[in-house]
């Protein structure tokens, strides 16, 4: 049985004038970590809110844990954990009070499910008497995850849980998710960090309310249709501008230490062009695409088709 299903889900705002989610269908298997990747305003948070029964779709049906999001909303609320994009715990309550509050609301106790949150909570324990509003970003996020887990949910919804969090804490966070997955919890997560997308079992790329592709990270990368090159020289900004104005360039953008380049001409043409432009120290070599390259390409192709982002 799938843990989450969406069938032709559509949601509009402002009396139908804004199409937030456009005929979306996909399913997430039990115990799977499924990543929703898309730009701001693509419809990710709206999908989270419909699945957690906080919003009703205009059209289509959806289930979570086998229950219908409209008919069985009360049951669903007891079996899901939800970490919204915005910090939404009680800022005036302490760490421990927040956790106690959420445990009580779900008719359980911290002790009963302590095993599930132990790894995370030990890091918070020294601050258990501190008000939630006074915690740092990384700590708030850990507390929010504890509160979302305290009733041992079957399905966990995490809407950009790591935005504004440093790379070491992000790594720890994903190690926690891995342990939760091992316990059979299904996780739907959205993120703007593409290295995190690679850690999901499957990812769905979403744009303008539509899901454009669903695949494992490996297959997403394999489906990249063009050859991709990495280029660098001493003055990267000049190189970027020069390559962008080169007629054989399909796309060129910064990528860490290198520029990534896709071309419609031969490799020799590029080298010749760079020599003519006076670069004598450049590096030009084939490279393997990443999920980030796939995402950038998809955005460019889709938006290039007259489907300009709002």
């Amino acid at each position: 049985m799938s843990a989450i299903t969406l069938n032709n889900i559509t949601k509009t705002y402002n009396k139908g004038s804004i199409l937030a989610v456009d005929d979306v269908s996909f399913s997430v298997e039990k115990g799977e970590v499924f990543g929703l990747i898309g730009p701001d305003g693509a419809g990710k948070s709206t999908i989270f809110r419909m699945l957690t029964t906080l919003l009703v779709a205009d059209k289509g049906t959806a289930t979570v844990g086998g229950y219908d999001v409209v008919k069985d909303y009360k049951t669903i609320r007891t079996i899901v954990g939800y970490m919204p994009g915005r910090f939404s715990l009680y800022q005036d309550l302490t760490v421990e009070e927040n956790l106690n509050f959420f445990a009580t609301v779900f008719s359980t106790t911290i002790e009963e499910n302590y095993d599930l949150i132990k790894d995370i909570y030990v890091q918070l324990e020294p601050f258990k008497d501190r008000r939630a509003g006074k915690l740092s970003g990384g700590m708030k996020q850990k507390l929010a995850l504890c509160c979302a887990l305290i009733h041992k949910p079957e399905v966990l919804f995490l809407d950009e849980p790591t935005t504004g969090v440093d790379v070491v804490s992000r790594k720890e966070f994903w190690e926690m998710l891995k342990r939760l997955k091992e316990q059979g919890i299904t996780i739907l997560v959205s993120t703007s960090y593409m290295d995190e997308a690679t850690l999901c079992d499957r990812i769905g790329l979403i744009l303008n309310g539509k899901v454009l592709s669903i695949a494992t990270p490996e297959n997403t990368i394999q489906a990249y249709p063009e050859k991709l090159y990495a280029v660098k020289s001493k003055s990267m900004y000049k190189l970027l501008n020069d390559l962008r104005s080169f007629q054989g360039t399909i796309n060129c953008y910064t990528f860490g230490e290198y520029l990534h380049l896709s071309i419609s001409c031969s490799e020799e043409d590029v080298k010749k062009y760079l020599n003519e432009k006076g670069y004598n120290d450049f590096v030009f070599k084939p490279t393997t695409p990443t999920v980030e390259d796939c995402f950038i390409r998809l955005l460019k192709t889709e938006n290039g088709n007259g489907n300009k982002d709002k």
Partner: protein, 246 residues
């Protein structure tokens, strides 16, 4: 080379907690200077001191030629500042925000008019010029607030996690604007959690527990630590941290 920021043993204590611990560095004109560190390493506190918003406990610092202890108001006039949390007035339109900030920074009416046209065109926001900022997607807001932060042609602009939560494509468009501003001589002081962005900086510092643990060009750091990617330098240093995000 002209120096626009100079700090010497700059320190900030809160009671017995040393948030920023004797940091010393120089930033040159037109440089893109990356300021990295884990949550709670002291980046924001350091940045607040440099912006004239927080008085240091000890040490020395000048920004745009002005002293952080005695001339904080002069500093504020000569810098731009943008953070992820607060940047624009959501209830004002795109144009009204530009006018407002232009006015605050003492631009003439004519300059404001020219800037309004220039900025909306640069961003392709002509159609949205009279819309409330609230209705814009996050990436557009961040790009607009960057251009607004440099509307008065400051010597230096401070960017506090300007691309948090912004998608990969939009992050690159944002960095195009940064490159363009640096090319025109504006010094960029930027914090980020996206380590690919560290590569786009001329020099990078990594702060750990209030101290500067590394300061070099991205390639210099990779060589020094014998690693392929900046991420690994960051892991090596940040893992040593005793403070846990607080």
């Amino acid at each position: 080379m002209e120096t626009v920021i100079k700090t010497n043993k700059l320190t900030k204590r809160f009671a017995d907690f040393v948030a920023v611990d004797e940091i010393s560095f120089d930033v040159h004109k037109g440089e893109i200077f990356g300021f990295l560190g884990a949550n709670g390493a002291g980046k924001t506190t350091a940045m607040r001191m440099l912006c004239g918003l927080s008085v240091p406990t000890s040490g020395e610092a000048t920004v745009a030629g002005f002293d952080v202890f005695t001339q904080p108001e002069e500093i504020k006039k000569n810098i731009g500042y943008m953070s992820q949390k607060f940047s624009l007035y959501e209830d004002l339109t795109v144009l009204e925000n530009i006018q407002f900030y232009g006015g605050i920074y003492g631009l003439t009416n004519r300059e404001i008019k020219e800037k309004s046209a220039e900025l909306t065109e640069k961003l392709g926001l002509q159609k949205e010029a009279k819309k409330l900022v609230r209705s814009l997607p996050l990436g557009w807001k961040q790009k607009l607030s960057f251009l607004v932060a440099i509307v008065h042609q400051p010597k230096i602009v401070f960017l506090d996690e300007p691309t948090g939560g912004v998608d990969p494509s939009m992050r690159r468009e944002f960095w195009d604007l940064i490159y363009d501003a640096a090319d025109k001589g504006i010094t960029i002081f930027v914090t980020t959690h996206y380590l690919d962005e560290a590569e786009y900086c001329n020099r990078v510092t990594i702060m750990v527990d209030g101290k500067i643990e590394a300061l070099d060009s991205p390639s210099g750091l990779r060589e020094k630590f014998g690693v392929q990617k900046i991420d690994e330098v960051f892991y090596q240093l940040a893992r040593k941290a005793k403070r846990s995000g607080d």
